[in-house]
Symmetry: C2
Subunit: 206 residues, 2 copies
Amino acid sequence: MTTTPEPARRDTDHRRTEIAAAARALIAERGFEGLRTRDIAERVGINIATLHYHVPSKEALVELVAQSLRDEFKAQHLRRSRDGLAALEVLRLEFADFRETLAGREAFVVMSELSERARRDPKVAAVMQPLQAFWHGQIAEILARGRADGSFRADLDPAAAASMVIGGMIASQRSPGDNLVNFDRVAAELERAVRNPAPQHSGLLP
Amino acid sequence: MTTTPEPARRDTDHRRTEIAAAARALIAERGFEGLRTRDIAERVGINIATLHYHVPSKEALVELVAQSLRDEFKAQHLRRSRDGLAALEVLRLEFADFRETLAGREAFVVMSELSERARRDPKVAAVMQPLQAFWHGQIAEILARGRADGSFRADLDPAAAASMVIGGMIASQRSPGDNLVNFDRVAAELERAVRNPAPQHSGLLP
DNA sequence: GCCATTCTCCATCAATTGATTGATTGTCTC
DNA sequence: GAGACAATCAATCAATTGATGGAGAATGGC
């Protein structure tokens, strides 16, 4: 790998992917404060100059990391088909998606870190904000559908409840103890929190 | 202030407070990545060497910031008396407390930043974790009380629901639009999410 | 008045860090 | 094989940054 010089072909995309992966790992370990271009280059097994050849600046590097995370979430979301499922079932798919991200740990930590950074880095915000808006919108839509078909509470505010759902999932990771166990408990509670306590019959209303 | 030399009395505590305040403001503006001891000293109006006289190292400085935030939250929590209030009323006090923190903006951002940093800085974790545990425990207790007296759902999981409440409050700040408006919407939704849809009469149960 | 203590600043260090320069190697095209 | 291009590295720069040493000024106790 490192000793045998790889074929000097046009693998800029490949190198950028490697760099993004190394950067993500380091961000997960030390946060943005501890992120050093040298460390990234070392982990990839290349010279700093080579790193700068593929990614011109640290700013561009952070943007690259944000994009790589966004692409991963997009791909993950598309992996599970939502066709013809009831609102509650789709909500459970969202839980499953997030649970999967949690299991890998790294992606979740990097996402938290990026969300924080997006507060003052417009380039990162430009990547993360649409992602978060999409996520929030998806869940709000699920909740609105469930409210309409009577499976969720009639007094549900879809947008506000979406924040509650997302926030609950994230906050479940701040408690001590096993991460996945905590998540499952909160997910179950979220389900009870949005379900209709007095579900309608499938028929019409007067 | 800067021209007139202040009386060189034993005001180390005062200086440390000033330093903590300046550090908090700078963390809110630029995050931990952008936190420079020189900038803090400049904002306080003292020399870097003087800063290091009062706070020996940057590590100690971060710890100081964490402590100052913890003390503020403690003081804020004690300001409102909870005596003799119903569970729902106490929950609303928690909402009011958080809303107050939000209005100041800085404390909320610094808290988020510190929570992130606590992940890999044991000294920060030692300050922040008990604080978060206390907050979570308080809310879980309120929820358990409300469940017991029938004002909250009977199938409530207090610990999980506490994560949901805290997470919802925090997540309300990630949505676009006015922060306080978003918070109020989510707080109202959280209230509906935990309330008992079929409240008992005030009498006994068989 | 004298001295210890506290607080402050000027000057400076040593290390770190993002970035660049110039040269080298291998591959593809013609 | 000559030229163009992609990819890589060793060496180095300039700026930043946390931290220190030593000296000066104000205060309080005696």
